[in-house]
Symmetry: C2
Subunit: 231 residues, 2 copies
DNA sequence: AATATAGTGTGTAAAAATTACACCATTAAA
DNA sequence: TTTAATGGTGTAATTTTTACACACTATATT
């Protein structure tokens, strides 16, 4: 059976690639679509930008509506503008990424009917995604892989308090290679923006590790004196 | 006298920040607008994307129409989507940059009536530009400053054959600081992608410097074996 | 012909950053 | 008490980065 779809002239949309880190694995947030086109497919959370909202605002709203997540720091990273990327008409999409702590408590619950559900999926072995979302994901992944080494994005993926081993395994997951434990620690600590806490890991059946926390103030001081702001 | 302008719903545009290097100075390409809004203002070359062209294609076409320049390698770098950035309606603009050799011979000549003229202007002491173009330029400048150190963009700004001093003064202009001559040369040559020519600079009233040329093949070999492609 | 001018081209030592590498310590569970 | 699992630590070798000064060459000027 063939479904007749409406067409439209030209619209903007945003798509969000939200990275999380859990159980030593890097994951992204996907939705199951509940609307044509690509009904029942998996896709990145994304939707149409309203007439009277900036694209940055749209990104926040749309992510919230599709997943229930709010107040992330999303960063635009690329705009996809091929003529035929959307089957119903001309849609140029601005893609955003964000990195967040996956938090068992925080429920993922679509607010609109447009998504049937939202869930985390490991970045390895991603299934086929709707539209050009696989390419969008790839571009995002390349970007954050780069940025990991000159921006403090790792800390957004970890819990507030984390161990150095957790930090290292995040780097290993993103860079997809093993790192030397001693050298990694030496380097991280040498930056001076990690604060050692008087607290230890709990609930592990082996020697508990010290917890650390990322000190934003110190980071800003160190970084901004070295070079002008970034964007 | 107040001018009544038409309004429109939503359109995409592209804006181009084209960098060139001349007389030891970094410059960008500006146009003088010949249409409302911002008639007579200076602006970045930019215009509306057609219904049936990709944004990448649009960027090439528009740059050509406004300046007569063709076949640059433009790279998208950011999309500007504030609601009120354009006085006549909702315009989201995708911004591109490119780096090219300024070539006295190549005439800058707008093809459409939309621009009165196109010309190079030093990036220092830029005048006020139309729309949010000053912010767009700033973002572009920050990007290329960053990229200079991990992508071979410098060579696009220089003539095919260049001296090491020219190369150095380009780096100095972009990074806005003095570099040490010996260290700079040592480092550049150590990369192995500069080809020393059997030729010397001509027409200078002092000892002529050796000419070099950027060897794309070698660069690709070195770079691609070190890490996956970029984007 | 001599000299002034302007930029070319080169090496080395010190300091800093990166890499490679192995074993004892601690905790909880068996 | 033993085992399993991970935490935590230092040093030497190598590589990379930095700081630094002077003789050479080509032309223009007198």
């Amino acid at each position: 059976m063939e479904v007749k779809l409406p067409t439209f002239d030209s619209v903007f949309s945003v798509d969000c690639v939200i990275f999380g880190f859990e159980a030593g694995e890097l994951k992204i947030l996907l939705i199951e679509r509940n609307e044509e086109p690509y009904k029942d497919w998996l896709a990145l959370p994304g939707y149409i930008v309203e007439q009277d909202e900036s694209i940055d605002d749209a990104a926040e709203r749309i992510l919230y509506e599709l997943t229930g997540l709010r107040d992330l720091h999303m960063q635009q990273f690329h705009t996809f503008g091929e003529v035929n990327r959307h089957p119903q008409g001309r849609v140029i999409t601005v893609a955003y990424y964000a990195l967040i702590r996956i938090n068992g408590q925080k429920e993922l619950r679509p607010i609109t009917q447009y998504a049937r559900k939202a869930f985390w999926h490991p970045v390895n072995e991603l299934p086929k995604l709707a539209f050009d979302h696989t390419a969008i994901f790839q571009t995002a992944f390349n970007k954050i892989r780069r940025r990991l080494n000159y921006q403090p994005i790792a800390f957004e993926l970890l819990p507030e308090k984390f161990t150095l081993t957790q930090l290292q395994s995040l780097y290993e997951a993103v860079e997809n290679r093993k790192l030397d434990k001693r050298n990694f620690r030496k380097k991280m600590l040498s930056y001076g923006f990690l604060k050692e806490l008087d607290e230890k890991q709990k609930g592990v059946s082996y020697r508990a590790a010290k917890l650390y926390k990322f000190d934003r103030r110190k980071y800003a001081k160190i970084f901004h004196s070295e070079m002008g702001g970034e964007k």
